[in-house]
């Protein structure tokens, strides 16, 4: 698998992501792509990692979405390429219009740095095929603006097309207001494009790929990506 990680000024979870990707690729390190690039090397997967691109100033991801490199990323996706956006990467994808909706300030107005459970809502993508439908996985939250918003028509369409990939849940799998950490509509933690190639999610599966760091519930996502891309 040839993976590339895009670096914006202020990106800070690129190492976490590189470690997770290398772990499932026999130690092969992903290439790092600078935000000012206008063309991309041959790749199977582009990752927009977490962090505070441009300091999260104005709106999270707004300035990064306008970077030169994003034109190439959009072309790559339109040609059927796989793009994964995590946390700030998800915000960038929505700001760039590559995924619908927007991420607003957490309803509690505070940064959330804690573990949380989420439920796998669909499994027909390389990102989710490593999980079972309805599986509960533990992930790391680290965001101040993860409150997913879209209008009702969009939400209904996402639900209808099976584009809701993950929902915040309790450890036993219930989804309710009480299990919703940031006010996201319908408890949405991640959504996927209609063609199942572009995934955005707020939590950090890349921080749980090693039991030493507290868990490996994120590993099936990365293993699934490698398998799916090899097939």
């Amino acid at each position: 698998m040839r993976a590339g990680i895009v670096l914006f000024p202020g990106t800070n979870r690129e190492r976490d992501m590189a470690i997770a990707l290398a772990k499932v690729s026999g130690g092969r390190e992903p290439v790092m792509i600078w935000h000012k690039e206008t063309s991309l090397p041959p790749l199977d997967l582009i990752v927009l990692p977490g962090g505070f691109s441009h300091g999260d100033y104005l709106r999270c991801g707004a300035m990064a979405a306008q970077s030169p490199v994003m034109r190439a990323v959009r072309d790559f996706a339109e040609a059927g390429g796989h793009v994964l956006g995590v946390c700030n990467g998800f915000q960038i994808l929505t700001e760039a219009g590559m995924l619908p909706g927007a991420l607003l300030r957490n309803a509690g107005l505070r940064f959330l740095g804690q573990d949380h459970s989420m439920r796998v809502e669909q499994t027909d993508s390389i990102y989710t095929s490593g999980y079972a439908q309805g599986q509960i996985i533990r992930v790391v939250l680290a965001h101040g603006d993860g409150n997913y918003f879209a209008d009702t028509a969009t939400l209904d369409r996402l639900e209808g097309e099976g584009q809701v990939a993950f929902r915040y849940a309790s450890p036993s799998g219930e989804v309710s207001d009480a299990t919703n950490p940031n006010g996201s509509q319908r408890g949405i933690a991640g959504i996927i494009s209609a063609n199942r190639r572009v995934l955005g999610l707020m939590p950090h599966p890349e921080d749980y790929v090693d039991p030493l760091m507290g868990g490996e519930d994120g590993l099936p996502m990365f293993a699934g990506i490698v398998q799916g891309l090899a097939a």
Partner: protein, 577 residues
């Protein structure tokens, strides 16, 4: 601020006493200029000169086989094996955090990060030791909220995990909270960067953010007591920009990968003044600065303002000949300001030029060597009598007492605070807040991990400063040991009241003695630290608070143990109860 006639009165306003003012005139052999007086006053402030504490700090043990650099550098450096070092320090931002809790705490984190990465280390962990007033004091809520959001706002953005800390509440901190921030970084042992300038003619380069009129005289403010007017008198508050800091970390580490740097120093308290004076002073050379080239955010800034500004996210670098283009390209890539603002000379003087005028010309030797040093009068503390258990009667059932204890401000869950920090970024955090007695952070690409903790129990220090100092060191040592790590060294943050009061100096001296004894007994030297005095509001001092930041190493991170008990495990109690 425009220049005013220099006089003894102005010197006093700048925080110099009559004797110090006399000494300035003797050194200069003439009336100093306004800018020169500004430079003397900040360099000789308590904050920069340690004039009250220096003689006592000498009592702390600072050496061990594994200590690479002890106190005197920007941060302490210890060998952790595998050709690596841990570089760490703790620093206070108490006064700014009371005036503007969010920005005060945020810039505190920014400052300590710079102390660590300026030595070539990539920061891998942040901790914070916080003391607030009573929870029922309305002001406390605002301060807690702002400080916690400020620490998170800065640390989360720069992408350094905040992995631990401690919090206490006590009426003595109502008007003077303590915000002590600690950063730990990792650097290869053969790539450590120091601040001593060298090489006559070498360029002095300014990088980072532009200079504004922020925090002028911050260092002298940090060396004065608060009174009711402090909030009006306060100089412009410094606003932190963690985004720029993140870029600065990456750009500096990238430049450190080349051989362009002779010396590097962050601009902390007293900004351009202390960084240039210290770099030239340590190198035994002279320095000439041309302020016209300093990147400026505001118009019409005077030499005095530029020399004393405490604008954040700035560094000073002495470059090797011919390295300018390499360095410039890196800082431009990261969208940071880069300017050659001077050069190293052989004069042993700092010369500051602005708009064709020499605004300052001071001999560096006397500026450092003749800085005031005080052996202030001391009244040794009399420890409070130890309570006799036999005289204490039980007034409530044990279970009820336990509940009350668990719910008390000093013992209740810290999750509300810790969950506003990102403990995981970097992907190396093995034990997060609440999981072990010390945080455990692995070193990427190695099996090794560091165990890091902050400890102090001000209550104990108040009852008996010497025992309290000793206990704080011992607790740090125990917390590290309890994870399975080998304790290596500590950093400290001495937070005390007004040193001109003999009883406060007594607390300080006694705490140092206790710490020194514990450090010697445990072979646990002090490699860096910070002193914050004058923590008083309207004459009332804080509890003596010698905060200790301890660091240890564990060869195999998998061996590290937390506090969670699993089913069917036995509980063993060690030591006398």
């Amino acid at each position: 601020m425009s220049a005013r006639p220099v006089s003894e009165k102005l010197a006093r306003e700048f925080g110099l006493n009559a004797e110090e003012w006399g000494r300035v005139q003797t050194i200069m052999g003439r009336m100093p200029s306004f800018t020169e007086l500004g430079i003397f006053s900040v360099m000789w402030s308590e904050h920069c000169s340690y004039k009250s504490s220096r003689i006592w700090l000498k009592e702390l043990p600072t050496k061990a086989e594994w200590v690479v650099h002890g106190p005197g550098e920007n941060a302490g450096v210890v060998d952790i094996g595998d050709g690596l070092t841990a570089i760490f320090k703790m620093e206070s931002h108490n006064h700014p955090s009371f005036i503007e809790p969010y920005q005060g705490a945020a810039t505190g984190v920014g400052g300590i990060l710079r102390d660590v990465f300026t030595m070539g280390a990539r920061p891998i962990a942040n901790l914070n030791a916080l003391r607030f007033g009573r929870p029922e004091n309305p002001r406390t809520k605002r301060v807690v909220d702002g400080v916690v959001r400020g620490i998170g706002g800065y640390g989360n953005c720069v992408g350094v995990p905040t992995v631990g800390g401690e919090v206490n509440f006590h009426a003595a901190y109502d008007g003077n909270p303590l915000v002590n921030a600690m950063t730990v970084g990792i650097a290869p042992k053969d790539r450590i960067f120091l601040s001593a300038a060298a090489g006559i003619g070498n360029q002095v380069v300014y990088v980072g953010s532009k200079t504004g009129r922020d925090g002028i005289h911050g260092a002298t403010m940090a060396s004065a007591e608060f009174d009711a007017n402090s909030e009006e008198k306060r100089p412009t508050v410094q606003v932190g920009d963690p985004f720029t800091e993140k870029l600065l970390i990456e750009a500096c580490l990238e430049l450190m990968g080349t051989d362009a740097i002779v010396a590097i120093q962050d601009m902390g308290a007293a900004g351009l003044t202390s960084s240039s004076v210290e770099m030239a002073g340590k190198g035994g050379v002279g320095i000439q600065l041309d302020l016209d080239s300093v990147p400026q955010r505001e118009t019409g800034m005077s030499a005095y303002e530029m020399m004393l500004s405490e604008s954040q996210e700035r560094m000073l670098i002495v470059l090797r000949p011919g390295a300018e283009e390499i360095a410039r390209a890196i800082f431009e890539k990261w969208d940071l300001d880069f300017a050659v603002i001077g050069h190293i000379t052989d004069t042993g003087r700092i010369v500051v030029r602005h708009k064709g005028v020499t605004e300052a010309d001071i001999p560096l030797g006397p500026l450092a060597d003749e800085a005031p040093l005080y052996r202030r009068p001391i009244q040794w503390p009399v420890p409070l009598p130890v309570l006799d258990n036999a005289t204490i009667t039980c007034t409530m059932p044990t279970d009820q007492a336990l509940l009350q204890l668990v719910a008390s401000p000093d013992l209740c869950s810290r999750a509300w605070i810790a969950s506003q920090y990102d403990p995981a970024v970097g992907g190396q955090t093995v034990k997060k807040p609440g999981q072990a007695d010390a945080a455990i952070v692995k070193i990427e690409g190695s099996n090794r991990a560091l165990a890091i903790t902050t400890d102090c129990t001000p209550r104990y220090c108040q009852a008996d400063p010497k025992m309290g100092g000793m206990q704080a060191v011992a607790e740090a040592w125990r917390n590290i040991t309890a994870t399975g790590a080998r304790p290596l060294a500590i950093t400290d943050n001495m937070n005390f009241g007004n040193p001109e009061k003999p009883e406060i100096m007594g607390q300080f001296a006694a705490a140092i003695q206790g710490m020194a004894e514990a450090c010697i007994a445990l072979d646990f030297p002090v490699v860096s630290g910070n002193v914050s005095l004058y923590n008083e509001t309207e004459g009332k001092g804080i509890l003596p608070t010698p905060a200790i930041g301890g660091l240890g190493v564990i060869e195999d991170a998998h061996v590290a143990r937390g506090i969670a008990i699993e089913p069917h495990q036995d509980l063993v109690l060690i030591g006398e109860t």
